[in-house]
Symmetry: C2
Subunit: 307 residues, 2 copies
């Protein structure tokens, strides 16, 4: 007989404005709301303290980075302790001169830092110039034994990688939480917008199915021009698509936010549901450990296989 203690995850879907301090205060208010709705663990969107500055490559933006502990983490840790709630705090981390990461600090309900996750997969795409700012994470894929339950933490671009979901689930996570900042290029939205959104949701629902685990995704919402205290990027900007959601271990959406406004979602994580799902679909039992080592290769160059 195993322990089956349920807990509740709260997802903050929010917009960020030009003033980082105002964003922090809005985040604090949303965390309070999530706690009032019963959340035991609250997750904020990726890099919530500013508009998405990586729309351009500009050395001045490194001024937004801060250490752990540091102002944002300290503020959220105090809030965690006050509300007795765990908070996933995404920050632009300054680790050392020239060493910056896209990070989530995890504060448990006692206000202590339970751990950090540094984004492992770093994108680089027009208007998402993250390789300029962030060194790839070096802490691996991990989950954290919080008071409420065991939580796996990943960030945005990680969500396209089945390897990341698998490794985090194998480390014991009951829920994979992906703080995210994803949206449409306005010029592409009409032709590709729906397919992009659907692919994004589909692959994360598939992580839930493949691993028999909950998946929870708080996304940013709203049109942004990377405005940081009035320093903004010309052009059409990015329309962050919201649509934050929670999927159960069967891949079913059990909570979902709209695509055009701020919203706080709360959903229950039930370890008994994980146990039951994995008993009925015992995928973890049949993995071919002996055959997976080429996953550490970039590509398997062609040679005709022998019959």
């Amino acid at each position: 007989m195993s322990r089956h203690r349920t807990f509740r995850v709260g997802l903050v879907q929010m917009s960020s404005g030009p003033d980082p301090d105002e964003n922090l205060e809005r985040a604090v208010a949303h965390v309070r709301t999530a706690r009032e709705l019963g959340a035991d663990v609250v997750a904020l969107p990726e890099l919530f303290r500013s508009q998405y500055f990586a729309q351009r490559e500009d050395h001045a933006m490194f001024d937004l980075a801060e250490p752990i502990p540091g102002p944002t983490v300290d503020r959220m840790a105090a809030l965690a302790k006050e509300l007795k709630v765990a908070i996933l705090v995404p920050i632009f981390e300054r680790r050392a001169a020239g060493v910056y990461h896209n990070t989530v600090a995890i504060t448990d309900r006692d206000g202590g830092i339970a751990g950090t996750y540094r984004k492992m997969h770093i994108p680089d795409d027009p208007l998402y110039f993250e390789k300029f700012y962030f060194a790839p994470g070096d802490l691996g894929f991990r989950s954290f034994p919080l008071h409420a339950g065991r939580v796996g933490v990943l960030i945005c671009w990680d969500q396209w990688y089945p390897e990341a979901a698998r490794l985090t689930a194998l480390s014991g996570a009951e829920v994979l939480i992906y703080p995210t900042a994803i949206g449409w290029h306005p010029g592409e939205k009409e032709d590709f917008g729906e397919a992009q959104f659907d692919a994004w949701r589909t692959i994360q629902r598939a992580h839930a199915i493949a691993n028999g685990v909950y998946v929870a995704v708080p996304n940013r919402v709203g049109l942004e021009h990377g405005d940081v205290r009035g320093d903004r990027v010309e052009g059409p900007g990015i329309e962050f698509w919201g649509g934050s959601f929670v999927a159960d271990p069967f891949g079913r959406i059990i909570a979902e936010a709209r695509r055009d406004r701020e919203e706080v979602l709360v959903a229950e994580i039930d370890p008994a549901m994980i146990e039951r799902t994995r008993q009925h679909w015992p995928f973890l039992r049949d993995r071919r450990l002996d055959a997976y080592s080429p996953l550490t290769q970039r590509y398997i160059d062609s040679s005709s296989p022998s019959g």
Copy 2:
């Protein structure tokens, strides 16, 4: 500039009756139909020559097994040569006394055997007693350079494993083809049927998205009691759910069969679409090869991560 030669995949969604010889003749007719519809590569469902005998554990069923080459493969190889079409021929393979596999033999359009794939992940579940019959495959995850294009072959239960899709895609496959026999336990259909079907389709669409590759799935259809020449299994049977489909590299369904009848689907595989999709969503570029080696572990036993 790369070569961008399109080709067409044909999927045979079929029912199997009590007589293996009649099933073979029906399969031949369906392959002819697929060829008439323009298919260059035709795939039959898993173990199409008989009803799904693994509903029970019975040593007598080993008599259904046959070698490669053997009667079924020879017949299909002759058909392949006649029609100038490649055929994926799923068989119950007898490799040696006591060594049986769930296999696909691939005949190219010249009638030669281009290779074989032996199912790597073997299920074992009420009414799917495959571990009794089939030794796990030992040929790894592979794709085959056919005249039409490069085809990756996997079988049914493999479809729940992102590792299998990834490795086959990394070997150069332009399409992953999964001959399948999946269905509902009739007693579960009302409560779970739609969610099961949707999870099955979702995880395979996700393989397309994660890897920027086409995915094509020919499934069995119809209610069966594992009837092999009148020797049948008591009980409600399995209702094979059809729903064969092809997804493009963006995970969009581009061809789909109904769930209650035989059908032949044909869809185009366009390597230019693969190239373009992977340029816009460059997931293969950013894989963290240095961090994936624990994928060869069964489970990563918990210890608190250091902060």
